[in-house]
């Protein structure tokens, strides 16, 4: 923990912060940008980023500031930070099947590795995290475990978002079983399903406002 994150921790403990930076973290392709777009669309009418289905589409942190959300009597002003997907590997060859040339794929891989580094660096600057997981995948991955361990060590509030519950084969209960000590909200960012529960959870678990 550096001095900046120590200060941020003090702000959080005493609820002094009015504008909260919420980072959307998770593996690649779990729907972070779709969720960022959904939150932004719901409260500002504007999208944040592009969704293409090619892994590592978000390679730089995308930001939307001053999103005012109201839940009951509580009002929160949020900055939503859509982070590049976390990964322990980036192989340029994996992009070739999406029709990218070798040159484009190599460039994308370079940018993706920089994106992972940037996302990790941002961990010292967020006030709360939405840990996004794909409910159709096995949640017990080292990336998810490492992410949650880091947030716990830094005392950053976290809500697990079990996304893609509209998809066939979605098993959000596996996420609850894998991480029983965390609040889990089941949503479909794509369809806008259960978003109210997510906003309620943000108001409940994120200090400030």
């Amino acid at each position: 923990m550096n001095f900046k994150s120590f200060l941020s921790l003090l702000y959080r403990i005493f609820g002094l912060k009015r504008n909260l930076k919420i980072g959307l973290y998770g593996e690649t392709g779990v729907g972070k940008t779709t969720l960022a777009n959904r939150i932004s669309l719901d409260w500002t009418g504007e999208e944040i980023g592009k969704v293409t289905g090619i892994p590592h589409e978000t390679r730089k942190v995308q930001k939307k500031e001053k999103i005012e959300i109201k839940v009951g009597k509580k009002k929160l002003i949020l900055t939503i930070l859509d982070m590049p997907g976390l990964s322990t590997k980036v192989d340029y060859r994996s992009f070739l099947k999406y029709g990218l040339s070798k040159k484009e794929a190599r460039k994308r891989a370079r940018e993706a590795t920089d994106g992972v580094i940037e996302a990790i660096k941002w961990l010292s600057n967020v006030d709360a995290v939405l840990a996004v997981m794909d409910a159709t995948r096995d949640p017990l991955t080292q990336v998810n475990i490492t992410l949650l361990g880091n947030l716990e060590a830094r005392k950053i509030p976290v809500i697990i978002v079990a996304n893609k519950i509209d998809k066939k084969g979605a098993k959000p209960e596996l996420i609850r079983e894998a991480f029983p000590t965390y609040p889990v909200v089941e949503i479909s960012a794509l369809k806008g399903k259960n978003m109210d529960s997510l906003y309620e959870a943000i108001a409940k678990y994120v200090r400030g406002g």
């Binding site: 322990t88 190599r106 490492t146």
Partner: protein, 140 residues
């Protein structure tokens, strides 16, 4: 083609400061070795490992696969772990404000496997075990 496993005692890793430890691990893994140790890194150190891995990714080294199992600590062991965790946090905090780059931190009891992603195709993790599927393609 052959696959090399190095079983390294956590004592060897613990005597190295964090930056040197990560270098030691990644140098081995980048050479194609699968490293197994009887220690578990802290989540912060594991994030540092991922960050450093990303800096080293190139055409021949797409990254790493990691799996670890932490032994649940009880009683005095738990207390000892808490003390050592606090000691590491204090050391890291003072190192960060004094501008010191590398700090010596301890490992927790458990098991960690780190290997090159080009060989390890899948790690299936359960709360108390993991299985690793590795594949080496013959050069044609």
């Amino acid at each position: 083609m052959k696959l090399k496993f190095d079983f390294v005692s956590s004592a060897v890793l613990e005597e190295k400061p964090r930056e040197k430890r990560i270098n030691f691990i990644l140098n081995k893994v980048k050479d194609g070795t699968i490293l197994v140790t009887d220690g578990v890194m802290s989540p912060e150190e594991e994030m540092e490992l991922i960050k450093e891995t990303m800096r080293r990714v190139d055409d021949g080294f797409p990254g790493i696969e990691v799996a670890s199992l932490k032994k649940p600590a009880k009683g005095l062991t738990k207390l000892a772990e808490k003390i050592s965790e606090s000691k590491d946090k204090i050391a890291t905090f003072f190192a960060s404000i004094s501008g010191k780059k590398d700090v010596q931190t301890s490992l927790k009891t458990g098991l960690t496997l780190i290997g090159p992603a080009k060989y390890i195709k899948e790690i299936k993790k359960n709360p108390n075990s993991f299985s690793v599927l590795a594949e080496i393609k013959k050069k044609v």
